[in-house]
């Protein structure tokens, strides 16, 4: 794709997508919606916390001698 094609596609894109007001604000207060989500879905530990725990348990299972070291750092 040459520069001319690229510029033309960019121009078509500018024409096709409606402009967005840079100072736009939400039409309503969104805080109640955030609170509803927080109440409905209690915070769960993220996946990598579970992965870390799995890794530590695996380490302890395969290398029992590492348990005192792990306990020391906990």
């Amino acid at each position: 794709m040459n520069t001319h094609d690229e510029d033309r596609v960019k121009q078509l894109l500018h024409e096709a997508l409606p402009p967005v007001d840079p100072n736009a604000e939400p039409a309503r207060d969104l805080w109640p919606a955030v609170l509803t989500r927080m109440d409905a879905r209690p915070a769960m530990p993220p996946w990598f916390d579970w992965a870390l725990m799995g890794g530590l348990l695996g380490l302890a299972a395969f290398f029992p001698s590492a348990i005192p070291v792990l306990l020391y750092y906990l």
């Binding site: 794709m1 078509l12 096709a16 997508l17 967005v20 939400p26 039409a27």
Partner: protein, 190 residues
């Protein structure tokens, strides 16, 4: 510069809110929400270009932000971090919406064009371009809408997506190339 300093909010108080938020304090979170919701909403609106969807994604993003409070690093600032989470929430929404749209598009037939005026032809080209843009893979679409349509600096787009500036340029290039091919398939030669 921290956001608090930029907007005239007392910097020390702002830092206190950031630290309290990191501990999971809901009041501090609400304060940060009030200060940043407009910026996050505006950022999402640029990507989805639909106020109702942007509102929905803003509340989803702030819920994700709260959920991730323990990983927040106050020294790195709130807004960039919030923007990154909002970008990923939008990306997830686009992936879901795209899958649903693909199912719908299979059932919709294109109207037959006949003796169109210039204005009608231009409107049709705009509509086809918009549809072709929506068919782009979400990762490419977000990079293109922010970098090309919204003229956001590549560095900011890279930070929001968690990728390098070079990767942003590559995604924009691929988006434009795919768009051109799609338009050509629809009989439009850019």
């Amino acid at each position: 510069m921290a956001w608090g300093a930029e907007t005239g909010v007392d910097e020390r108080e702002y830092q206190t809110h950031l630290l309290a938020f990191r501990q999971g304090d809901v009041d501090a979170f609400e304060t940060l929400f009030r200060q940043h919701q407009r910026a996050v909403y505006g950022w999402i609106l640029r990507m989805v270009r639909n106020p109702a969807i942007a509102e929905e994604l803003t509340s989803e993003s702030f819920w994700r932000i709260y959920r991730a409070h323990a990983r927040f690093e106050p020294a790195r600032g709130f807004e960039g971090w919030a923007r990154r989470i909002a970008t990923h929430a939008t990306l997830d929404w686009m992936r879901t919406a795209r899958a649903e749209r693909q199912l719908t598009e299979e059932l919709v037939t294109e109207p037959v064009a006949s003796a169109l005026s210039d204005a009608a032809v231009r409107a049709e080209i705009r509509a086809k371009t918009a549809r072709a843009f929506e068919r782009l893979p979400p990762k490419l679409r977000i990079a293109a809408v922010l970098a090309v349509v919204e003229d956001q600096p590549h560095k900011e787009v890279a930070q929001a997506l968690g990728i390098s500036v070079a990767a942003v340029k590559l995604r924009v290039f691929r988006a434009l190339r795919l768009l051109r091919k799609d338009l050509e398939r629809q009989g439009i030669r850019p």
